[in-house]
Amino acid sequence: MAMSDVILDIRGLDKTYAGGVKALTNVDLQIRKGEIFALLGPNGAGKTTLIGSVCGMVRPTGGSIEVFGKDLSKSWKAIRQRVGLVPQELSFDMFDKVIRQVRYSRGMFGFPPDEARVEEVLKSLSLWDKRDVSIRELSGGMKRRVMIAKALAHEPELLFLDEPTAGVDVELRRDMWRQIDALRERGVTIILTTHYIEEAEEMADRVGVINKGQILLVDDKDSIMARLGRTEAHFTLEKPLAEVPATLTKYPLHLEGEGTCLVYRGGDGTGKGKREIADLAQQLVREGLTYTGLETRDSTLEDIFVDLVEDNQAKETVQ
């Protein structure tokens, strides 16, 4: 990764709370300009603490954070002006009007009033018709949009979304994903935390898995998918093979169990994997490669996640 592509560079970040709880342990994380990065982990994993360390709610006890190539502890004002945050909880002055809260946020971040920009933000979030409504009168989903509108009012280049779809219904979640996509189109770098695998899978370019304050894995979502595939099929062969037959090399196949098991890992989540497995099964029959068993299953980020968390716990138990 070229250094110029790194928009956020976290090294050796530690956070121990006053009560002695160790929320982050030696976290290293590099975020690339323009990507959507999903920080995936269970509740209490340290996701919000990590975001808080960059956005100013939390004072790290160790390590360094660089944003836009500058040291956060020194150039925090210049940096924060270009960073946006949508926290998990709905928190604003409930008695205020929507448009005034958005103007307030823009001003607070040091930007001159710009009604055209405020209008654009409100319209993009379907809040324009509600602009003069007191926030407390809005539905939960609309309130969440106000939170996003506030964070977008100052045109951040780096945006943190803490559990953007926690507790929202399916429709709103889809809507939120479309919003995030639209932001990416405009070149905003987005870091979102989630404990929904589906969300990370749907949205992210890269995924980082965090548990108990430690980053377990960071990788491109696609390369994780490519490595483990979308769909897996295990053909138990009657007679072991020395290698994958040349006629079958168009499929993503390899042999396991000393040639007794032909393993397919492929597909892209569109049903291609299942079709290919069906084709493959017919071709195996045509070519006289008899199999005595067939197991198929879809592998998801969930598998990776569960494996990683279990691995981590196993390691801890050994220690």
């Binding site: 709370y17 006053a18 808080g52 956005c55 100013g56 709610m57 939390v58 004072r59 925090w76 004002k77 210049a78 940096i79 924060r80 002006q81 960073v83 945050l85 926290p87 909880e89 709905l90 928190s91 604003f92 002055d93 409930m94 008695f95 205020d96 005034r100 103007r103 307030y104 946020s105 823009r106 001003g107 607070m108 971040f109 040091g110 930007f111 001159p112 506030k150």
Partner: protein
């Protein structure tokens, strides 16, 4: 980026607008309180009081009552202003914004002090309807009111940061400020107190505030103006020092 002046102005404006949402109650209640005090103490009881220097009792207590309102309103407005975002969670935005100690103080304390100035004008206007009084040094009086409003808005800001419940938010104004103000010579000259109470009164900081303001109104008070002014400025500097420390350490702000 050195000073985020737009940010400071945005906070100030937002706070002032928030106060205007409840303007009716927050302006009306001190007006009624002051009027009642003036009618009861000034007009009714005051006619039987004799003060050193032949000062009318009514005009004697006007600066005292003004000080009473300034202290309680500045403190409670500023403490409420910073406590509410902590309570609703909206403080996240302040913490994540390019807003430092100066911007925060200009915004929150400036707005509370501005409201106190408006209140002071309203109270002086109300008092003028009930009794006759004159202001000996109007310019000095204005700056003294400004100084007190700023100082106690700073104190309120500290209380608002310190408080982690509504109870604590009210405890300092109620248990400390109110008694100190009443015992601080709002309604009487401390010279009429017997010893040792006169000497005990000298450790009450409000005594100097009331007498400072009284001097600007009447041209005379229990202490020279330099002593009162010195005590007020010292209190202001203590508050600024505490706030600087809070922002440096993140106490009650950042985890």
């Amino acid at each position: 980026m050195t000073l985020n002046l737009r940010g400071a102005y945005a906070i100030w404006k937002n706070e002032v607008m928030r106060m205007f949402r409840t303007a009716f109650g927050s302006i009306l209640s001190p007006v009624i309180t002051t009027s009642l005090y003036l009618v009861v103490f000034g007009a009714a009881i005051g006619s039987r009081m004799e003060l050193p220097g032949g000062v009318e009792y009514g005009s004697f207590i006007v600066p005292g009552l003004l000080m009473l309102t300034l202290l309680t309103e500045s403190t409670s407005n500023a403490s409420f202003g910073i406590y509410m975002p902590k309570f609703t969670g909206a403080i996240y935005e302040l913490l994540s914004a390019p807003v430092g100690v100066v911007e925060t103080l200009v915004g929150f304390v400036g707005a509370a002090a501005a409201k106190s100035l408006i209140l002071a004008a309203v109270i002086l206007g109300t008092a003028a309807l009930i009794i006759d009084y004159e202001i000996a040094h109007p310019v000095l009086a204005f700056f003294y009111i400004l100084l007190v409003a700023a100082t106690f808005s700073l104190l309120g800001f500290i209380i608002g940061l310190w408080a982690n419940s509504f109870e604590k938010l009210q405890i300092v104004p109620l248990l400390i400020l109110m008694p100190l103000t009443f015992l601080g010579g709002t309604f009487y000259s401390i010279d009429i107190l017997p010893e040792p109470w006169r000497s005990v009164s000298l450790i009450n900081p409000v005594v100097y505030l009331v007498n400072g303001l009284r001097w600007t109104f009447l041209g005379q008070s229990d202490f020279p103006i330099a002593v009162s002014l010195g005590a007020t400025v010292a209190f202001l500097l203590i508050c600024v020092g505490i706030i600087a420390w809070i922002f440096k350490t993140g106490w009650r702000l950042r985890e």
